[in-house]
């Protein structure tokens, strides 16, 4: 019984036989076609985004640098220092040290507040689990992605830095863009 390749057989497309005259004739036609193709690119225009001046707008759910939030009406911090974000963090880059709120020194709305809140951005993988873990929406992922620095120690973001409005803002993608 002979084996039949059936539908599985592969059609091999061989290149035309090499030859000076035929090859030149084919190459000439293909050259003209190629010239047309490249010239169409000139007509089409440039696709470059001039990065430091122009930025690619990010999507609303883009996970960039973290932000800590305050209540808009009272100005108190939303973070109560529960350390759930630190527990959820897979790369273990969040450090929270909680302290008790007192009536004279009231920082957050809850019983306790975060006396120290540090995110080591150089270790962060921007997974957004901290945002998910937070019961008070105190930490969210922002849109900034330009965080390079010359020292590793400068990449440990403190609570003040995370609470402050980011200096450089990234353009946000509008609906349907």
């Amino acid at each position: 019984m002979t084996w039949s390749p059936g539908e599985d057989q592969i059609a091999v497309q061989r290149a035309p036989a090499p030859g000076a005259a035929g090859g030149t004739y084919r190459a000439f036609g293909e050259t003209l076609r190629g010239l047309k193709t490249t010239f169409a690119r000139v007509v089409e225009g440039v696709h470059t985004i001039q990065y430091p001046e122009q930025k690619v707008p990010v999507y609303p759910r883009f996970r960039g640098r973290h932000k800590l939030h305050r209540f808009e009406d009272t100005g108190l911090e939303k973070c109560v220092g529960c350390s759930l974000c630190a527990a959820a963090c897979p790369s273990d880059c969040i450090r929270v040290v909680a302290a008790e709120n007192t009536s004279e020194h009231r920082v957050s709305a809850g019983e306790r507040y975060a006396a120290v809140y540090e995110i080591n951005i150089s270790r962060c993988i921007f997974c957004g689990y901290c945002e998910v873990a937070c019961p008070f929406d105190a930490i969210t992922m922002g849109h900034d992605f330009e965080m390079s620095d010359y020292n590793r120690s400068d990449l440990i973001f403190t609570k003040e830095m995370l609470l402050a409005e980011p200096i450089e803002s990234t353009p946000l993608r509008t609906e349907g863009e």
């Binding site: 000076a20 490249t38 690119r41 440039v46 470059t48």
Partner: protein, 341 residues
């Protein structure tokens, strides 16, 4: 009896001024052509090209020349010293010498003296160009051989084979024009094109000359001599700093020379079509503009075509281009004889 007449009619000091002017203009335009090529190549690939240094990136070549000039002068231990140093010098000198021939205009009277707007107009114009083109090969071959590196050596061997193969077709393509014009003086050939530019009656010759010019100037798709991917840079692999710039400048200058010759012989030199006669001072700009169009075509082709395989290059050169050029010459000669008798 002299073999050729150089045809000087200017006083000696005008000759010197002209020489300096041509040298200055040629080497002044070169960096602009390099940045123009990079920008145009960018456009062909949907990007801007260099645009950071200076206005529109025009100072990019200047920055690069400063970079190259401050580089360490490295020479491989296997290199042959004097020849290694001499090779880029030969390349650039021959390129500049050939550029002296490109006529930028007729011989108008400037302040009462008759001045030819060209370096020199010998009665053997194209031969002079080919003579210097042939000497320029020594720059490439000596450079590759004296480097003492196998990449350079392979590049030099390829250069030798390629340049010699295509020079024949390039020369034969010009003979059609020379027969039609009946003169070897480049200005006389331009004057002969008043009625019709030679690229119409000599279209096959123009095509052959253009293709052979790509090979002669080592431009894509005939850049096997340099072949960045396989030979690193061919004959100038081992060169760095200003010597490499000399090779680079020689290559671009050769491109300008070839464009200038093509403009002179096929595209009517400083003439304009439809009987437009601008004032004489416009002539050099017309030639430069036509040269830029030709150079743009070089860049367009570079952006389009991949490099040929070596056997394809050789079979194309010897089996197609050379017979075609020969046939073109023969047919032109027969037609000219038939018309004149």
């Amino acid at each position: 009896m002299s073999l050729a007449i150089a045809g000087y009619f200017e006083p000696w000091w005008i000759q010197i001024v002209k020489a300096l002017l041509i040298f200055g203009v040629a080497l002044g335009i070169l960096p602009l052509i390099i940045v123009y090529e990079r920008k145009l190549l960018g456009r062909f690939q949907g990007r801007y090209g260099p645009n950071r240094v200076g206005p529109f990136g025009l100072l990019q070549p200047l920055a690069e020349i400063i970079k190259f000039a401050t580089k360490e002068d490295v020479r491989p231990v296997t290199s042959v010293g004097p020849l290694f140093v001499l090779a880029p010098v030969i390349s650039i000198i021959t390129a500049v010498a050939a550029f002296a021939l490109v006529p930028f205009g007729d011989a108008p009277h400037i302040f009462g003296t008759r001045v030819g707007l060209y370096g020199v107009d010998p009665s053997i114009g194209p031969l002079y160009v080919f003579a210097f083109g042939a000497i320029a090969f020594y720059g490439l071959m000596l450079g590759g051989w004296a480097s003492g590196s196998k990449y350079s050596f392979l590049g030099a061997m390829r250069a030798a084979a390629q340049l010699i193969s295509y020079e024949v077709s390039q020369g034969l393509a010009l003979i059609g024009v020379i027969i039609t014009a009946g003169s070897l003086s480049l200005t006389a050939i331009v004057h002969a094109q008043v009625g019709m530019w030679y690229f119409i009656p000599q279209f096959v010759g123009f095509l052959i000359f253009t293709i052979a010019s790509f090979a002669e100037t080592n431009r894509s798709p005939f850049d096997l001599v340099e072949a960045d991917a396989e030979l690193v840079a061919g004959y100038f692999t081992e060169y760095g700093g200003t010597r490499m710039v000399a090779f680079l400048f020689a290559e671009y200058l050769n491109m300008m020379v070839v464009s200038g010759i093509a403009v002179t012989l096929f595209l009517g030199g400083w003439l304009l079509p439809f009987g437009i006669h601008p004032p004489t001072w416009v002539d050099p700009f017309i030639v430069l503009a036509k040269m830029m169009v030709f150079i743009s075509f070089f860049i367009w082709v570079r952006a389009t075509l991949p490099r040929l395989r070596y056997d394809q290059l050789m079979s194309f050169g010897w089996k197609i281009l050379l017979p075609l050029a020969t046939a073109n010459t023969l047919v032109t000669a027969i037609i000219v004889v038939a018309v004149h008798t």
